[in-house]
């Protein structure tokens, strides 16, 4: 156990406090501080990643209490990956926010931002179900603030819907956690996994019900059908850097399904093993189909991008639902891709929107934007990546997922939905791209605003992730296979958590 392990959670918390303290000094200080802190977090995440890169789990017994009595923080390969992804994404989003002055549009952007990271990282590291609830709340309330940052009619309405739906979700979370505690008598994920194995036949139904309730909760975050309805509005109407950061928010839901359901209702759980998984697959497929239709039906770019994100999340659900090591490895590859490129897509939608002036992001014929070739190329590449066309990462992720599904009884459904959805999205994105970049007309009196090059750097760098992911597909896949292997070996996780002894030997302090 390394004391370092807690840092990914602690650093943004301290960061948030520092931001709050720095408020009177002014936004410039906050910006510098925020950039430094986020960069530091990238560093910390990298070290964590290195630390997790073994079969050894880093377990911290918070308060020095033996699990399952205290709360544990667990760093394994998956959580390390999520941490790294989050911090990199955050850095990009933060840079874009600062360079476009988004952070100046309201109060407390940087505090919210750091604490959002606190919530995310906490959710990725906690080994306790109720603590996960708490971190969900942290990341949610920070996201409420960020979502509403800057205000405006549509944003406020979307925010209201987002908040209400998530509050209902929090209620469901507590119902689920309560039920699980009421039967299993514990909250620690590893301990629950043990308890689930010993559940009597008479209690199985109720535990399964709680599992599915929990799935609904995570499904809301992950934007699973029919729980995704908050997403299009929320993502479309918030500010671009926030939307970009939100690309990781849906992944929290998926991560939680992998972590919580995967551990508690894993292979060893007897009749309860993978009680959730067919739902994930089925609902993932439905979500994907609806998302593709949404992409096609969108009347404005940001909404289209929101549905593209939804589609990528749905693809991930399908991959998780396939439920084998290869599929999970593929899912992780796709997760990295979808997070970074989804974020980039939101940012470029913002670039385009700002470039089009009064036409904003609506799909109408408008004036040409500044630097159409570079912006258009990046847009095209992102479109290719996100719709899963070769030669970028989306395609390879999709192929890996499909390959892993070859022996699945639902292969035909998986194949047809994924391929058809891909096609529909390609058609839609090509339509919008051709409208935005080709179908343009210069107009008197409508001046194009120049491209914000320094902000654009963030988009470009995020976009580069895709070719890099192709280039380094092999090491990435190897890594993902290792992660998936670790995840499918739930017993190792359980043993690691439950066998970690408090510092100094025992609990009597």
């Amino acid at each position: 156990m390394s004391p370092f392990t807690i840092l990914p959670v602690l650093l943004p918390l301290i960061g948030g406090i520092l931001m709050l303290m720095a408020r009177p000094i002014g936004i410039d200080t906050q910006r510098i501080l925020s950039l430094i802190l986020t960069t530091l977090l990238v560093g910390v995440s990298l070290v964590s990643f290195q630390l997790a890169n073994s079969e050894i789990y880093q377990v911290v017994l918070l308060g020095n209490w033996q699990a399952p009595f205290g709360i544990v923080i667990v760093l394994d390969r998956l959580s390390a990956l999520m941490l790294l992804l989050t911090s990199l994404l955050a850095l990009g989003a933060l840079w874009y926010a600062i360079r476009t002055d988004t952070d100046k549009q309201g109060q407390h952007f940087h505090v919210l931002f750091q604490l959002q990271l606190f919530g995310l990282n906490g959710a990725f590291m906690t080994g306790d179900v109720f603590n996960l609830f708490v971190f969900f709340e942290v990341l949610l309330i920070a996201s409420y603030g960020l979502l509403l940052h800057g205000g405006g009619r549509l944003r406020t309405r979307a925010g209201l819907h987002y908040v209400v739906i998530n509050l209902v979700g929090s209620t469901l979370f507590l119902f689920a956690v309560g039920t699980l505690y009421g039967i299993l008598g514990t909250l620690n994920i590893a301990d629950m996994a043990i308890a689930v194995r010993n559940v009597s036949e008479a209690d199985q139904g109720i535990v399964a019900t709680a599992a599915v309730l929990l799935l609904v909760v995570f499904g809301i975050k992950a934007a699973m059908f029919p729980l995704y309805l908050w997403l299009p509005g929320a993502y479309a109407y918030t500010s671009a850097p926030v939307a970009a950061l939100f690309a990781i928010m849906t992944k929290v839901g998926l991560y939680s399904i992998i972590r919580v359901h995967g551990t508690i209702f894993g292979e060893e759980a007897g009749d309860l093993a993978f009680v959730h998984i067919e739902w994930v697959l089925l609902l993932g497929l439905i979500t994907l189909a609806l998302a593709a239709l949404g992409v096609l039906a969108a009347r404005a770019l940001r909404r289209q991008v929101a549905y593209l994100i939804l589609a990528s999340v749905a693809t991930l659900m399908v991959a998780i639902g396939i439920n084998n090591e290869a599929a999970l490895a593929a899912a992780l590859y796709y997760l990295i891709h979808s997070t970074m490129l989804g974020a980039a897509m939101f940012l470029i939608a913002d670039v385009i929107m700002k470039g089009r002036g009064i036409y904003s992001d609506s799909f109408t014929k408008a004036i040409p934007i500044d630097r159409p070739i570079i912006v258009g190329s990046v847009f095209m590449l992102l479109g290719i990546a996100l719709t899963g066309m070769p030669p970028l990462s989306g395609f390879f992720g999709k192929v890996m997922i499909l390959h892993s599904a070859l022996n699945h009884p639902w292969f035909a459904a998986i194949l047809s939905v994924i391929l058809t959805a891909g096609l529909v999205m390609i058609i839609a994105v090509v339509r919008s791209g051709s409208l935005l970049f080709y179908s343009v007309q210069k107009e008197e009196g409508q001046k194009t605003s120049p491209l914000n090059k320094s902000a654009f750097v963030a988009v470009f760098l995020l976009m580069l992730v895709s070719p890099l992911m192709v280039m380094f597909a092999k090491p990435l896949t190897d890594m993902n296979t290792q992660i998936a292997g670790q995840l499918f070996n739930g017993q190792a996780y359980i043993d690691a958590v439950l066998s970690t002894v408090p510092y100094g030997g025992n609990n009597s302090k």
């Binding site: 205000g151 009619r153 406020t156 209201l160 908040v163 209902v168 209620t171």
Partner: protein, 130 residues
Amino acid sequence: MEWLIASVISVMTGCGVYLTLRARTFPVVLGLTLLAYAVNVFLFSMGRLQIGIPAVIDPAAAAYTDPLPQALVLTAIVIAFGMTAFLIVLALKARSELGNDHVDGLHRSDDELKATKHNSTKTETERSQS
């Protein structure tokens, strides 16, 4: 007793859900508050119902209730309070930006229509301050 508590939770949930499904922000806030109460009692009851044996260590005590759900509910209450506070202010913001208190900001309520009419005639009256 359990039946009673279950009924209480159930009715609060039902009422909470019904109010949460209303079209105006204020009932929605009330609904979520009720839902929060319901789930808090639910979570609390998961430690089973015990009378007169609070989890305060006392040499004379023969037994203790399960303290863990209580701690969880305490956390949940405070979180729900924060969320309610946020939501109600958001409702105000929505009222200000959307022009009425419909959750979708769609249908202008009667008082709003009157207010617009009023604003257009510009007969704003200052409230007398004491």
